[in-house]
């Protein structure tokens, strides 16, 4: 059986696009024929499950039973890739739990591939999370995701501030999620389908839909840009643990 890979998508700050990024990751794996299961920690409702109901399970990561449901099954279930969409405020506690159960040590020793997509918001509070989270990243592949979907900036205009956050953590790789047209984003929300199905003009059950050609075009263009970022970091190689997959930040 393939080596299990766990991708955690999270942030301590809310509303920065964690679920959006999780959805693009699931779409990317789907398009690349990588069997994936997902956990949505937004119990009891779950946003990710609304878009990817077939592969997503809602869990409460603060309970031991649900932690077992995720991590005790890594070596036994068929999809070797697990994506966890961690709800706002839970990233640091979740990483602490992973450390406590020995998961981070297993990642460090190479038994498990572990990657963290840390979604950043345009605030000092959000950027302060980097230092806090980086403490858990020994043995993990750490990605700092700058999400421009809300038309934000990340203090690029103030190089001292920018460098103090983005260039301080060794081994961290930046990913840029470009802006998506607001109306296109809202239409996908209303449709409750994965981005891929929206582009293909399909409904939740693969039935033909009637989405706007313009909005589908915007989503297709945006998704291609997001995926080019995933291609750049060789995401499929990372989860397949191919030797060609460089640890992010490696020269």
């Amino acid at each position: 059986m393939a080596k299990p890979a766990v991708i955690v998508v999270g942030a301590d700050k809310g509303g920065v696009g964690k679920t959006t990024v999780s959805r693009t990751v699931l779409d990317y794996f789907s398009a690349n024929n990588v069997a994936t299961r997902a956990f949505d920690t937004e119990a009891p409702r779950g946003t990710l499950k609304r878009f990817h109901p077939d592969i997503t399970e809602i869990v409460d990561m603060t309970t031991t039973s649900d932690q077992m449901k995720i991590f005790d099954t890594l070596n036994t279930v068929a999809p070797s890739v697990t994506v966890i969409d961690v709800r706002a405020g839970l990233l640091s506690p979740a990483l602490a739990s992973l450390r406590d159960i020995g998961f981070l040590d297993a990642a460090k020793s190479g038994q498990i591939t572990f990657a963290v997509f840390h979604i950043l918001g345009p605030s000092i509070a959000s950027l302060d999370e980097i230092a806090e989270t980086a403490g858990f990243m020994d043995g993990a592949k750490y990605f700092l995701v700058k999400n421009f979907i809300n038309n934000t900036s990340f203090f690029e205009w103030d190089q001292a501030t920018y460098n103090s956050y983005f260039h301080k953590i060794k081994g961290a790789t930046e990913i840029t999620i470009p802006k998506l047209n607001e109306m296109a984003y809202e239409q996908v929300e209303v449709s409750s389908v994965p981005f891929l199905k929206f582009v293909a003009n399909k409904g939740p059950h693969d039935e033909a839909a009637n989405y706007s050609f313009v909005l589908r075009g915007y989503v297709r263009h945006w998704l291609a840009n997001v995926w080019s970022e995933f291609d750049r970091i060789k995401l499929t190689d990372i989860v397949h643990d191919k030797p060609s997959a460089r640890t992010p930040g490696e020269q």
């Binding site: 047209n181 607001e182 109306m183 296109a184 050609f213 313009v214 909005l215 589908r216 075009g217 297709r220």
Partner: protein, 220 residues
């Protein structure tokens, strides 16, 4: 089966004959096909809507909603020819959007044939715009309109590489005559029995050129 043509008449400059070309083409398509829909995206300029109110709808591409309203109709293969009179102020916005949403590729997939009629001019912006259009549309779908009134017989070399559509200049008195809001080119052909008049021949020449483009659709 023949494709549904979408004619995009455009320029980066005002006063180069876009609306005249759109009027001529719309009237020709109405005569040839029996049905045509024109979209006026040039409300800040002399407007197609003023000349052909029954065949023309207004379109606004300043926001996403307006873009959807226009483009979602253009991409339909319903065998009704469409004509877009694209104002110079909307040129960049329109073609940036069509590039982003992949209009040319999707149109080809759906049996829709976009045909760009670019009103040529010798300024730098026009040459750059033509270069951009060449990257977005295949050569068979991109025409430079050599409006004698504008270029005066001197087509810049960069514009002369692909397909051309020559429109002869009319004497000022005929120009004034056809610029009247109630003037109809097809109406003139029907009512003027003397086919040797300059205007008669001018309209027939242009209609013949449009017919050639329409025939070319069968080969696309």
């Amino acid at each position: 089966m023949s494709r549904t043509p979408v004619y995009i008449i455009c320029s980066t400059r005002p006063q180069v004959g876009k609306t005249l070309m759109a009027r001529l083409l719309t009237e020709f398509l109405k005569l040839q096909r029996g049905d045509v829909v024109a979209f006026d995206v040039s409300l800040k300029e002399p407007s197609l809507l003023d000349f052909l109110p029954r065949l023309t709808e207004t379109a606004d591409i300043n926001d996403t909603f307006g873009k959807m309203a226009l483009m979602d109709r253009l991409i339909v293969h319903d065998e009704t020819a469409k004509v877009i009179d694209l104002g110079y102020h909307a040129f960049d916005e329109f073609f940036q959007m069509t590039a982003e949403i992949g209009f040319a590729k999707e149109a080809a997939r759906r049996g829709v044939a976009p045909i760009v009629l670019f009103m040529g001019d010798s300024d730098r912006a026009s040459l750059r715009a033509y270069e951009m259009l060449q990257q977005q549309y295949p050569q068979r779908a991109l025409y430079v309109v050599d409006n004698e009134q504008v270029l005066r017989g001197e087509v810049p070399r960069a514009l002369g590489q692909g397909k051309m559509l020559h429109v002869a200049a009319l004497p000022p008195f005929l120009k004034t005559y056809i610029d009247r809001l109630n003037f109809s080119f097809t109406g003139y052909l029907r009512s003027e029995h003397d086919s040797s008049t300059e205007l008669h021949q001018w309209i027939r020449r242009n209609y013949f050129a449009f017919r050639e483009i329409e025939l070319g659709l069968l080969l696309m």
